[in-house]
Symmetry: none
DNA sequence: GCAAATTAATGATTTATTCAAG
DNA sequence: CTTGAATAAATCATTAATTTGC
């Protein structure tokens, strides 16, 4: 009965509490160092990774907004005049394609809101300088590719998985020629890179 | 007089060409290792980071779709019958919400294709099993928050900076440093390697 | 010809939507 | 049904094209 490493993070009550507290405090979109910090703190209460923190804030923010939107949407049932006015005014073509867009104006408003908030809590914090200076390390454990149902859908590409610390500038990738490999030079590599097979299958029409 | 490190990546013609070729070949959403490879290869032609590659594909895919959508949108003014038929036939619930989803099947196909490709040049690691084993460290340098115009918009949160390279596995990236005339005119075998056969029309006329 | 001023492309972020585990 | 995870759409911001007046 090993823990069997469930495929997704399950926040402990403590973690959740802290996260919510942080959110209440005003943190909406933590940056790298903030995430690092939070993760470190929360890791005391249980297993957790940076991406969990990241996603949590993303989702929480989004859903919070969603609720708010709904609530407001109901409240302002009668003020739709404005709505229509607005709609009629600055409308992109794409809205044609999204007839189910409930409240485009709301969305717009939210953008602004968003900006406002971030600047708000950033200003008060004023403590990013310190963070900004240093380098941080992250241990990235390979994300346990879920092959559970792999047979069906092949596998998922988690393209987010790679997004990270690309600043690997130090990167030894820098062509370690020293060994023989050179001979082939780039053309060959290129070849490897490009499976010219198939190629067809354009997404067109 | 340093180059002053422009704030955003500017692909060299070679890099661009290769990327486009890859795209044409079918790569839409490269995974971690693919991005690694591509980045390594392209780094020979100029400064480049993984995230550039990632973003490039994201944007290219999106804008390609955009164009296509527009085009089709015009073309299919009268063919909406088919659409409806299709929609009615193999429909997930979500398609209700996205009546404007033109080619869900295409998307699917690409995933498969993509997978095929990756396995093609990742075959040496015999799949993902090998990769999954280890943990890796990455140095995360705080991304040099651009404060250039900070006073106006405070700062940007680059939350993407942290997400990255989860999968990084065996990293077979063998670059060739080689001492050829790198400076300006690289031969760019790659180009020659790819018969730019235009069986598929250019994106838009 | 050549810069300042505009516009078009496109790299980089942020937000909204969807998928699927529990 | 809730929510972590992933993807796609929309948006912002900067660079390259280009126009324009001189």
């Amino acid at each position: 009965m090993s823990p069997a490493a469930s495929s997704r993070w399950c926040p402990t009550p403590e973690q959740l509490m802290i996260l919510e507290e942080l959110y209440r405090t005003g943190i909406r979109t933590p940056n790298a160092s903030q995430i690092q910090h939070i993760t470190a703190q929360l890791s005391f209460y249980g297993k957790i990774e940076g991406k969990n923190v990241f996603y949590w804030f993303q989702n929480h923010k989004a859903r919070d907004r969603q609720k708010l939107r709904r609530k407001l949407g109901n409240q302002l049932q009668q003020q739709q005049q404005q709505q229509q006015l607005y709609n009629h005014h600055n409308l992109h073509q794409l809205q044609q394609n999204h007839p189910n867009y409930f409240e485009p104006p709301a969305a717009c408003a939210f953008h602004q809101l968003s900006h406002h908030h971030s600047s708000t809590f950033l200003s008060h914090e004023g403590g990013l300088e310190g963070a900004r200076a240093a380098n941080y390390r992250w241990k990235l454990e390979i994300p346990e590719i879920r092959e559970s149902n792999a047979e069906k859908s092949m596998m998922m590409y988690e393209q987010h998985d790679w997004m990270m610390l690309m600043n690997v500038s130090s990167l030894p990738i820098q062509c370690s020629s020293n060994s023989s490999t050179i001979t082939t030079a780039r053309p060959l590599k290129t070849l490897e890179l490009f499976p010219l097979t198939a190629t067809n299958l354009k997404e067109e029409e």
